[in-house]
Symmetry: C2
Subunit: 159 residues, 2 copies
C-alpha cells in the first residue's frame, strides 16, 4: 500500500514541506537514505541509473551521485554536504544539481516511527530563492520524489 506524498509550498516563501508514510520502521527508511548501495536502488527519477561517486554519510560528511538515462549521452550530477546524520531520526543536508551551479538548497528530513511498524518522513526543503524553488518544481522535483518513494516502498517490502 502506497500512502502517497503530501507536498505543500509555503506561500511566498522558498520552502517546500512534505510528508511521506512508509510500511516500515523509521530505522529502515533512514538506512535507505544513508547506505549508498540501497540509495542508488530507489532514488528517483527511477527511469535513470544512479551511481554514487562520493559518500561519507555522517555529520560533517558529504555525498555526490550521478544519474544517466539508459541509452542516452549526458548525465546529471548532484552533490551536497551533510550537516546532521542522526541514525533513525534526522538528516539535514545541502543539495545542488551541478547543472545549476551554486544554487544550493537545504533538506531537513525527520524520520518518525508510527504505530504498527510504520513510519513517516516529515521533510522541509529550503531554497536560496523563490526563482530556484520554481525552477526545481518545473524540473519535476516532486515527480522525482514520488517515483523514488514508490521504488523505496518496493525495496522495503522485499526487506
Amino acid at each position: 500500500m502506497s500512502t502517497g506524498l503530501f507536498v505543500e509550498t509555503l506561500p511566498g516563501q522558498p520552502i517546500v514541506d512534505f510528508v511521506r508514510e512508509f510500511e516500515a520502521p523509521a530505522a529502515a527508511v533512514y538506512t535507505a537514505h544513508a547506505d549508498p548501495d540501497v540509495y542508488v536502488r530507489w532514488v528517483g527519477p527511477t527511469t535513470y541509473e544512479t551511481a554514487v561517486t562520493a559518500w561519507d554519510h555522517r555529520s560533517g560528511g558529504a555525498y555526490r551521485f550521478v544519474q544517466r538515462e539508459p541509452g542516452r549521452l549526458g548525465e546529471y550530477a548532484f552533490r551536497g554536504a551533510i550537516h546532521t546524520a542522526r541514525p533513525g531520526e534526522l538528516i539535514i543536508q545541502t543539495f545542488e544539481w551541478e547543472g545549476a551551479p551554486d544554487q544550493v538548497s537545504l533538506d531537513i528530513m525527520r524520520f518518525e516511527d508510527l504505530p504498527g511498524g510504520r513510519s513517516r518522513i516529515v521533510g522541509r526543503s529550503v531554497f536560496p530563492s523563490l526563482d530556484n524553488l520554481r525552477s526545481m518544481l518545473d524540473d519535476g522535483m516532486t515527480e522525482g520524489m514520488e517515483t523514488g518513494y514508490r521504488a523505496l516502498d518496493d525495496l522495503l517490502r522485499e526487506g
Copy 2:
C-alpha cells in the same frame, strides 16, 4: 574607513541579504574566513574569545567553534558543513548554534573584487523558518556581524 554593513530582510521570507565592503582584495577577505587562526581573531561578538574545535575548510568539509565570555562560565558552540569553498570567490555553508539544536541555516557569501584593491562580500543567509530568522535577529545576529567585520577591518589594515 569602515564602509558599514548593509542588511536587508526579504519581506515574508526567511532570508537576510547583506553587503559589506572592505579595504582589501577579495582574496584576503576570503582567507580571513578560511584560515582558522585568522578567523578566531575577528569573528563577532568581539567581546568573546573564540576557539576552533574542528576545521576542514573545503567543499565537503566542516567546521566548529566555541565562544566564551571572559570571566564567565558557559560557552556558545557553532558548527556547520561546508558545501562550497572556492578560494577568493564563494563560500556556501550551513550554520547551527548548538543552543538551538537542529535549527540550521544556509550562508552564501560571494567575495567580489572592487577597483582600487577593495572588495565586498555579497551575502545571503537562508533560515529554515521565519521564527528561526526572528530569534537569530533578536539574539543580535547583525550586531555580531557588525562588530566582527570592524575587527576584520583592523586585521586587514595590519596586513
